[in-house]
Each structure stands twice: as C-alpha cells, then as structure tokens.
Symmetry: C2
Subunit: 537 residues, 2 copies
C-alpha cells in the first residue's frame, strides 16, 4: 500500500526540470510587511520544503513583481527551473493565466540532430523533428570538424550554425504547437563530447590528441544567451556530462534511458558506430570503454554504403540452397545502396550460403552469375543497374568484406575485453541493449552469424531506439536524472581500450567468420552443420 | 596558543569577496585524462576544502582554457568570486601574470555617494571619492523620487543615472589607481531601501505606502550587466539586505562595522537624520526601529540650514554670562549657513545662556542687539550680512527652534521607547554609536543639553564616521560578512514605531529643553544650577 506521504515524496523527486506553481501569497499587513521577494521565497520554501536559499529570484523577475501585484494582487503563477543549486524563478504571471511550460530535448548527433518538444505540464512529447547537422558541410568526419574548428573563426562558425539550427527548429516547433519560444524554459542536450563542445563554442583541439582531453567533463547549467539560444532567457541549458573524449553525454543519456545502472541484473549497452561504445554493469558497478571499430558498420566507406534513407536496402536474404536472393528497401522504392542493417544481413547470408568463406573470401565459382569484376575487384551484385534508382549496380566488393570483417572483429573484441575485465561471461548478461538507429534495425541473429555480437539468446537483445534522445526527454520530465547522470560518471570505471594489450591479442581470432574458435558461436556452428558446411578454418 | 590549523581556518573564513589563487595543475596523461574543467575543479576543491559542486566554472572561462593551456601550460592564476553558493571562477590568467583583484565599496546615500576602491590582494582601501547622488535632480526628498519613479520612464532614468555615476567613478578611480575596470570583480553597496531599489530598477512604489513593502528584502547576488555596471562581467554585485522600507542595508552595514551584534555588552547604534534609525542589542538579541524625527536635525528645512560644506557653521559657543558669541566654519571661510552640528551647538548654547527658555521660546529681551525680526518672526542672528559669504544674515528663527525641538524630542522618544521595550536603562548601554557624518561631528554634550541624546557618560558615545561605507569595505575584505548580514536580519526584532501608542504618550515630555522631567538629565540640571538658572517649566 502506498501512503499519501510516499506518493508526495515520489512526486517531488520526479519534478520536471521546469514546472509551474500557483501561489496564494498571504496578504501583507502592518504586522506582516515582508517584501514581495520574502513573501514569495518563504511561501515557496515551505511549499516545496526547501531552504529559502535554494530559491533564486533573478532581478528581471523581481522587477516585474510590483506592477503585477498592483494589478492582479497576491495570486500568482510562477515557473521554476532547476538551477545549479535549488531553483530559479524564470517566469511570473497572474494566477490562472496558465502559460505553457515546455522543454526541448535534443539528440545532437554528428549526422542527424533529433529534437523533441516536450509539454512539461502534460508530461509528454508533443512534436518531434530530425534535421541534418549543419556542421557536416565542414566535414562528415568528426576529426575534420575538429581541424576546421582550429582554423580562423571555424569554431565560432560551427557554434553559430549549431545554435542556429536549434533556433530554426524551435521556431518551427513552436509554430506547429502554437506556443511562444519564451514558453521553452529548458533545453536538454545529449551529444558526444565533440558535438557538445562545438555547440558551446569550446575548442575541441585537445579531444583528438593524446592524451585526449575534453575542455569540460561536466557542464554547469548554462543561460541560453551564452550560447545564443532563442528560448526563455531565464531558462537553462543542460548538457549530459561526458567521461572522456570518446565516451560522451549521448551515452550517459542512453544509460539513463536504459535504466541499467539501477537494475540488479547485469546488462550491457553498446552503441555501434565508427566508435563502439560499451557500458557493462548493474546498480553496483559500471565499466565502460570505447574503441575504434572502423566506419564500415555504418555503411560509410563501403562501395555502395548509404545512410538509412528511402532506397536503402535494409533487409537481405539468400536461400542457402538455391542461392536465390531477395531484399527489401526503405520506402519500397528502387534500391540506391546498402544501409547498416542490410550490410550485416548480406554478409550473414553470403556466409551461410557459402558465397563467402570463413576467411572472408568471396567464393565466385559458387554462383558465377551474381559476381562481377568492378574496378578489377570481385563483387557480389545485389541489384544490377537495370533495376536501381540511380542506374548503377548495388554490390559488395571483396575489399568491402575485408573492411566489414575488421570492423565486426573489433566490435566483438571490444565487447569481449570489457566482459573479461570484470570476470563475467557473455551468458551472465541479462539485457543486451543495442543503441542508435542501428540498434533498432539490426537483426541480432545475423550479427551473431558474422561474429559481431556474442552468441547469447536472441531474446536478450533489446533495440533501444534513440536512447540518447530518450534520456534527454527523461531528464526534462524528471530533473533528478541530472544527479543520476553525475552519479553514473562518478561510478563508471573507464577502460582505455587503445592502451590494452589484450585487445590486439584477441582481435586476430575475431577476424574470421564468425571466429577462429567456433565453440564461442554454438548457434552458428549448428546452422553450418545443418547446412552441411561445418568447417574449421 | 593558536595552532596552525586554527590560523588556516580563520584565514579561510576571512577570505575576501574576490581573491586570486595560483594553481599548478597536475599534468595530464593517458592515465589521468580529466578535462581541463575537472582538473581545475578537483584541484581547487581539494585546495579550498570545498565540494566540487561549490565551484562554478562559467562558459566564458571554459572557452579561454584550451588556448591558455596550449600556450602557457598547466600553471594558471584564477580569480574567484564569492557566489550564491560557493564560488564562481571569474578570471583565468597564465601564472604570474598577476592581475589586480579589486573591489568597489559604495555608501549609496540619498544625498552623497561615497566610493572606496579596495585592493583585495593588499587588503586595503586605495582610493576614495564622494559624489552627489544624481537622483537629487528629481527631488531632494526620497518621497519625491519615489513619485518621480512612478511616472513614465522615471524609474529607468534614475536607475541609469545611478549606474552611470558608478561607471563614471569607476573609470576615474581606475585611472587614478592605474588598473582596468575589468580588475574590479566585486561591488558591495550599502544604501537605504529606496536607494537600493532605484539602483536595481526595482519599483519603490509600495515602499512609502502602507503597509510599506519593499520589493526585495534580501538581494541575490547580481551580475554586473543586469544593472549596467562596467566592471568585470563575471564579477558580482552585492547589496546589503534590508529588514523593511525604513530600515535599510546601510544600517545593516553599519551594524557590521560597529560589531555590536558580536559583543557581550549592550550597545545602541543610532543613525540621526530625517528618519532616526536605532538598533539596540548585543550578541544575544537585537531590537531595531525607525521613526520619523523630521528633517530639522539635518538642517534641511531650517531658514539658514545647509549641508556640511565649506562655509557651514559647524561649531557655536555663547558665553552664558557675557553672552559673547563665537563660531567656526568648515574651511574657515565666511559663513553661508548652519550645518547639523552647528545647529545643535547653537540651540544648546542659546538654552544655557538663557536666550531660549525651556519651552523653546526666544528670550529677546536678554540680548536685544542680537535679535531681529525677519519675515515678521523673531530671529537670533549668528552672523550679519556684512560678514557672510552670500551677503545675507545667518540666523535661527523662532519657528526653526520649534521644528528643532520637535525633531530632537522625537529622536529622544524613539530611543526611549526602544530601550524600554526590552526593559533596560540608558545606563546599561556601554557603547552608544552615532552613525552618519552627523555622528562624527556632533558634540554629545550639546546633544544631551538640548535633550536629544540621553544623559549618560560622554565617553560612551562613539562617532562611527561613515559606518555604512565601512561595513561595505569590510564585506569586500571578508565575504563571511554576507552571512553575518543575513544572520543579523534573522535575529532583529523590528518595532514598528508608527503604530506604537507609547511613542505619542512619551513625546510630549520631550518637547521641552531638555525635558519636562529634569531628573532624566542630571548633568544638564547641574549646569543650569551652576548658572543659577535652575527652573521647572
């Protein structure tokens, strides 16, 4: 049974980052001639059960009080924002005027930026929009942008472009929702370390140079004007903290979204990309690491790789017996390339069909019609030029496969090193969260087939969707997540993958399909055996 | 014996409001790749023995770190300012660059504004300047200014004029001291409630209307830009708190300067002016009140009253037997009027010489040559037109004397009511502090003679000089005074003089020279007896 008191306490803890409070202030008299400030602060402090010193009443608000009270009396609505210590009064209105109290959660990715407009009174997301990161015009790669930032006014330019995107999207979202930009009191941003630095105009120079130093690990709450954000000027901007150059706030936000740091059972969260970021743990301990997996898994550098967009082949199947090929594109339009999930499907299918051997070599003689030499390299053609959207073939080349195997091998090795570092087994992991757009679309059994993910029960894999964005929304709805984020940073033991010898030792075995040690992948071994192609490399 | 630890602790408590700290940050490595922010915050927190959350590193400072560290390495000088909670890093420099760290203390009077430039590293006042309050052009009287503020952009105008004066004086003082305005990190202001409101642009409308409400009692620390102050933009502006419309921050600052709130013995502090503000107490209890004494004591409304300026008669003596008159002017130039101390001297001398009787009536027949009818009213001429600076006589009229007696009577009655309210006697008061310029120049024995101050031993009277300014300087040198100021506000019991019946009951007896009950003024009775003019009214 939950008592009223418990309910109240829980409610208080879950207070959104900005919230409205209606106050009936006691009327003043000669025996109670406290100032407006004191009357508000003391009434609130007793209401919110806070010391008066935890309530910050900025000058701009104090300036509005005499006129407001003279016209409307002592019944007021106040908007509070969570501040560094306690709360700041960010808005004051006549009672019942009911202004909107909104927040903007942002997943600040280096390619796409996803915005969520959150109604903090109704406690729900009301609008969502995704945009390209405008910094991409200065380089797709993060390293290129760091170099761009170091030249002339490059940093300032990218800062302004990024803030400009925020402002443009806020104007758009506010128009759609029928609210004013001043009704947005809080902005919560989950981004990797470089993205956060660029948004704030912090020079990322040391991020990519040994020993890889961010300027800031834990961002203090920021006033919108310091960054040029056109939201309520007395609101606050929150960025999730990072624990290093390669383990950013997007991951901390993802951990918050998964809740793994509060669970008794052991979970693993992996964000698959050029860098593979991994967090393993439970409510008692947390281990993290990030390591380069190479860009192949995102489709970036492959001959026909593409982002997950209309026309991207996202699913591929090959009948292991007939070798019949089938595929499916996003939007069901003619294909233009292969996105991440399609690539993993394809490699798994090629391997099970015997069209690629365990060393990653294409077996051209097994289906000569499907193979073609392009630029003097053997390729498996998924869709020929007659049926594609751009009139060029969509294929995977021998060197693409080599790249893919290096990436998936690095990925698996990173996971293995992390798991071994704390003396647990893959089988001890109850929840295996895969974050990112990738996590939503990847087929775990295909990823297991190529030896990228460990061979554990399929039902333990959980796509987290946009975990970073979800964590940012969660923070707006429950500001105690800020404390949780700091606690997570305090608790994490970070393994520097680049300086670990065991990584290189273990990598070699992982550069096969699925692995030199097939006993690590019993389900794959079973499939191969069933197909009559059980072979040791 | 004082141990090193005690000394250290005391030192820490006495930290100035802004101070410099040199840090040798640990060099980063792969095994210590904390961000610049973390490195600074953690080094400092351990250095200052503070939690890391008490150190606020604003974005503007974080933006400077990468360039600074790249060029000058990990040895830095940081300037800290006391903030709402903990400290804000307001400046960062290469080590040994030794920037100046200055503060500006301001006694914001309604007539004069006194500025003190304080070197916070050397811990001393380096420059002082006094200026007229520019608001005076909108009215000498505070009430006039409150009315002016309520019209059109009157409030905004006075805010800008006041801040403008601050900026003009800062430019002047910095020029003289050879420093930059950015070297001023803290500004501490002691002013009455209305002055503080006008400086901040807070509408004083409710201050002068029952039930007399300020907008703010306790000002949060303010960023210079919010008020338009041209000092270091990451510095802070502090205003002493008030406990009501008629008991302002100037008095709280004065209490701090006197130290009476920390003494075991009972002290009384009075600020003599149009309003008499009184504080009585010791380290265990504090009682305060403010009451209207009328403007006569400041010389304001008297026929020949003037501010304490060159040409003002500040000392007057009349030989009680020969009736010979002598006086002294400020600057020893021809007289132009009578300032506060001169007026009190004059009334006391006239009374002892029998030229004014105990009811306040001029005794014209006793020295007919000195008396003259001006505007149909009898006047005692202190200096005739042939010797004054402006070619008009300097005199005191019968109606001036009536005004003076009303003011001095109100003053005495206020003191009496306060003392009685806590059940002590005037004789229990060990230190009787008289604040304001008035307090420095007034002769306590003359003030006793006219029954304005109680008849206690002369050596217990202590002129405090500019107590408000001194308190503001003290605060810059020892920021723990901010906490003391708040504690004082919490501890004070405020007596609302306007609503007390005993005030009016007691006032009647005090409207005589020195009082109807001569036993309250034994030293005056003795003087009169000696002069052979002992008389009961």
């Amino acid at each position: 049974m939950v008592s009223g008191m418990d309910e109240q306490l829980r409610e208080k803890r879950r207070m959104p980052a900005a919230f409205l409070r209606s106050l009936d202030l006691p009327e003043p008299s000669l025996s109670d001639n406290r100032s407006h400030e004191r009357r508000i602060r003391e009434t609130l402090a007793s209401d919110l059960k806070l010391p008066v010193t935890e309530i910050f009443l900025p000058l701009q608000i104090a300036r509005q009080l005499p006129g407001l009270i003279r016209e409307h009396g002592y019944r007021v609505d106040l908007v509070f924002c969570r501040d560094r210590h306690g709360y700041i009064v960010s808005g004051v209105f006549p009672k019942g005027c009911s202004p909107g109290v909104f927040g903007l959660a942002v997943d600040l990715g280096s390619t796409s930026v996803v915005f969520y407009l959150v109604d903090l009174r109704a406690r729900r997301v009301v609008e969502t929009v995704s945009r390209h990161n405008p910094q991409a015009s200065h380089g797709d790669d993060i390293l290129d942008r760091i170099i761009f930032a170091s030249r002339g006014n490059g940093l300032q330019l990218m800062q302004q472009e990024t803030a400009g995107l925020f402002n443009e999207v806020m104007a758009d979202l506010c128009g759609r929702a029928g609210i004013r930009q001043d009704d947005i009191y809080y902005c919560s941003v989950a981004g990797n370390t470089t993205m956060c630095h660029l948004l704030l105009g912090l020079d990322p120079w040391h991020i990519c140079r040994e020993p890889y130093l961010p300027v800031v690990n834990r961002f203090d709450l920021i006033s919108p004007e310091e960054v040029g954000l056109e939201m309520n000027p007395l609101g606050r901007l929150y960025l999730f903290p990072n624990i290093g150059s390669y383990f950013g706030g997007d991951l901390i936000s993802g951990i918050i979204a998964s809740g793994l740091h509060r669970q008794e059972e052991i979970s693993l969260l992996v964000d698959v990309g050029t860098n593979a970021e991994v967090i393993l743990g439970n409510r008692d301990w947390l281990v993290a690491c990030a390591g380069a997996a190479g860009p192949a898994l995102e489709g970036g550098i492959l001959s026909c790789g593409t982002r997950a967009q209309p026309g991207a082949i996202e699913r591929v199947e090959i009948d292991p017996t007939t070798l019949d090929l089938s595929w499916q594109t996003i939007g069901e339009i003619p294909p233009v390339g292969l996105c991440g999930s399609g690539i993993i499907d394809l490699l798994a299918a090629l391997f099970l069909a015997g069209l690629v051997d365990s060393t990653g070599k294409l077996v051209v003689e097994r289906d000569p019609d499907r193979f073609r030499k392009i630029d003097d390299v053997w390729c498996y053609v998924v869709a020929d030029e007659s049926i594609t959207g751009h009139g060029r073939p969509v294929y995977i080349s021998q060197s693409d496969i080599k790249n893919l195997i290096r990436s998936k091998g690095a990925m698996y090795t990173i996971l293995n090193v992390v798991v071994q570092s704390v003396g647990v087994q893959f089988s001890d992991i109850q929840n295996f969260y895969v974050a990112g757009a990738f996590g939503t679309y990847i087929s775990p059994d295909k990823a297991i087939t190529i030896g990228m993910l460990p061979d554990i029960s399929i039902d333990r894999f959980k796509g987290l969707g946009n975990a970073a964005g979800e964590g940012a929304v969660n923070m707006l709805l429950d500001a105690s997540k800020m404390d949780e984020a700091n606690e997570i940073c305090d608790r994490i033991t970070y393994l520097e993958m680049n300086v670990r010898g065991d990584f290189m030792d273990q990598l070699t075995g992982a550069l096969f399909l699925p692995h030199t040690d097939l006993s690590l992948f019993p389900s794959v071994a079973a499939k191969l055996k069933k197909l009559g192609r059980f072979s040791t490399p």
